[in-house]
């Protein structure tokens, strides 16, 4: 059964130094508040996984939380480069970052395999690409029925997956809707799952077939209104496109980035204070 706790408690209890951690959310419902709390608690040597490491991972990488990144597309959507990610890969700043690079299709399949408790994913992919040359975990398997050679890649099994959703009821059953990304698969592939939600409600009132994570597959659930800002939560608030553009400037320079992290994350108590700090 999921336990209702504060976000600080959930991160302290479940995200340890050196852990393999996936924060998922495909443009929508990105768990920014949880990422900030990981930075605030100064976790180190994390092995991070995410299909689209955008601003949230730029912040974690620049703040020195990550030792490794498994990913398939690292950019600031609609804006350009992730400067902290690039600085880590190109100049090992603030520390070297090992990268394991795959494609979207591969990682999506690898989360499905993880959720299904399988050791590897199978897909028709990578033929002719240089990616298998630089990632020795991209291998192949021959179909025992047809002889077709297919790509095989290890499933993703995070120690902890963190996602953001719209609602949870008092028991901790979680409901999300809109663009779902790989959140359900990522949660089910992990040993532990932390979910932050916009609001705690008495009843979910969801139709059959809605995307629900039952309380008993969730470890901790935390009420964090606007917890996906500056990404968006369908039905609650829009994407803060101005911040995505502003991030290009904030993150371009190391000192400017450090000052921003210190002032807005390290020196704020929680996400509510952060929201106040950035709105000023």
């Amino acid at each position: 059964m999921a336990e209702w706790v504060t976000l600080a408690e959930a991160i302290a209890a479940n995200v340890h130094d050196g852990a393999t951690v996936a924060l998922e959310g495909f443009t929508h419902l990105i768990p920014f508040a949880a990422g900030h709390e990981i930075i605030r608690q100064q976790r180190r040597h994390l092995s991070l996984i995410r299909m689209t490491p955008d601003l949230i991972y730029d912040q974690l990488i620049g703040a020195g939380c990550a030792a490794k990144l498994t990913f398939s597309w690292g950019g600031n959507p609609g804006v350009g480069s992730l400067h902290r990610f690039r600085d880590a890969v190109e100049n090992s700043w603030p520390r070297p970052l090992e990268i394991e690079e795959r494609s979207h299709s591969d990682l999506a399949n690898a989360y499905v395999a993880g959720a299904a408790n399988l050791p590897f994913a199978v897909l028709r992919g990578y033929a002719g690409s240089d990616l298998p040359r630089v990632n020795d975990k991209i291998r192949s398997v021959t179909c025992p029925f047809t002889g077709e050679v297919l790509a095989a890649t290890p499933s993703v099994r995070p120690d902890v997956t963190v996602i953001h959703a719209q609602k949870a009821d008092w028991k901790g059953n979680v409901l999300l809707w809109g663009i779902l990304g790989v959140q359900k698969e990522a949660a089910l592939a992990a040993k532990r799952a932390i979910v932050t939600v916009e609001e705690r409600v008495r009843e979910l009132n969801a139709p059959p077939n809605a995307c629900i994570l039952p309380s008993w597959v969730v470890t901790a659930v935390c009420e964090v209104p606007r917890g996906a800002t500056p990404s968006y939560a369908h039905g609650y608030y829009d994407r803060d496109n101005v911040f995505y553009r502003a991030w290009d400037h904030i993150s371009r320079d190391r000192d400017c980035f450090n000052a921003w992290i210190k002032e807005n994350i390290l020196e704020t108590e929680d996400f509510a204070e952060y929201l106040q700090a950035v709105s000023q």
């Binding site: 495909f26 443009t27 929508h28 299909m51 689209t52 990913f71 398939s72 597309w73 690292g74 950019g75 959507p77 609609g78 480069s81 992730l82 990610f85 690039r86 890969v89 190109e90 690079e101 795959r102 494609s103 979207h104 299709s105 999506a108 399949n109 989360y111 499905v112 897909l123 028709r124 992919g125 990578y126 033929a127 002719g128 690409s129 240089d130 990616l131 630089v134 077709e148 050679v149 809109g178 663009i179 779902l180 990304g181 790989v182 359900k184 698969e185 800002t229 500056p230 968006y232 369908h234 608030y237 829009d238 994407r239 803060d240 496109n241 101005v242 911040f243 995505y244 553009r245």
Partner: protein, 261 residues
């Protein structure tokens, strides 16, 4: 009666024209998304726009800034999970056209979106593969929209992220890729198509006002012009007005949306 237009508008319009009405199109963000939506708003109202974040049949009123904007979900026929998009819809063989951009491209329309320089010590670390390797292999055909410069049109790619025709000839078929590969590359200067036998890109249509010399100067290999290479039709007033209107609405919406958040 022609209206003044920019080379980028010519590129977007030329790319939009390639999308036939009713085609199921897997759309990348940026230029491909602009062109696909222009097609939908002009000659191809029944084009089905599929975005890798999960929306199928998206009809966004303004251009999305990211691949998973809310207006894609709100206007879609259905929204599925990202694994489902890649497994059932792309790998399942249901995509007619994959619409891609590129950072670097070679004469066989292979694409690099990974690194400039060496992989271990990159000069520029680019965003990476995203959905492109499987889009370029599984879509029945691929359209590539990219600005043409010597930096993008290179003799040799620093990294092959997604394949076009590999080393040309029948090398793509031999590698067992299910889709037919790139049908056209649309740039701000011209349209290129693969030669039917060698599969090397050649210019099949030059945009109005562009001379052949400037195309050669913007290409890092000894580019050929196809026999019967013609001139691209200028954007007509409907195409231009629709495109400008769409861009204006987009700027207004994203500005307001951002300020309000």
């Amino acid at each position: 009666m022609s209206i003044a237009y920019t080379s980028e508008e010519m590129m977007t319009v030329a790319a939009a024209r390639m999308l036939s009405n009713g085609a199921v199109c897997f759309v990348g963000i940026g230029l491909p998304s602009t062109a696909a939506n222009l097609a939908r708003l002009t000659h191809a109202p029944d084009a089905v726009l599929v975005y890798e974040s999960g929306p199928i049949g998206a009809k966004p009123p303004v251009l999305p800034l990211s691949i998973g904007d809310g207006n894609l979900a709100e206007t879609a026929d259905t929204v599925v999970s990202t694994p489902e998009i890649f497994r059932y819809w792309l790998q399942g063989g249901r995509i007619d056209v994959g619409f891609l951009g590129a950072a670097q491209l070679d004469r066989f329309a292979n694409i690099n979106t990974t690194v400039v320089g060496s992989y271990k010590n990159p000069k520029v670390r680019l965003p990476g593969a995203g959905g492109a390797p499987e889009i370029s292999s599984s879509a029945k055909e691929v359209l590539i929209i990219v600005k043409q410069t010597k930096r993008t049109f290179v003799e040799k790619l620093d990294f092959v992220t997604s394949v076009g025709f590999l080393s040309g000839g029948n090398s793509r078929e031999s590698a067992g890729l299910p889709g037919n590969g790139p049908a056209a590359v649309i740039t701000d200067l011209c349209i290129l198509r693969p030669h039917p036998v060698s599969r090397e890109l050649e210019v099949t249509s030059v945009h109005p006002g562009v001379n052949r010399e400037s195309i050669l100067k913007s290409t890092g290999w000894d580019l050929r012009f196809a026999e019967g290479c013609g001139e691209t039709a200028e954007p007509n007033s409907l195409e231009l007005e629709t495109l400008r209107d769409l861009k204006e609405r987009t700027a207004a919406a994203h500005g307001v949306e951002g300020d309000a958040a």
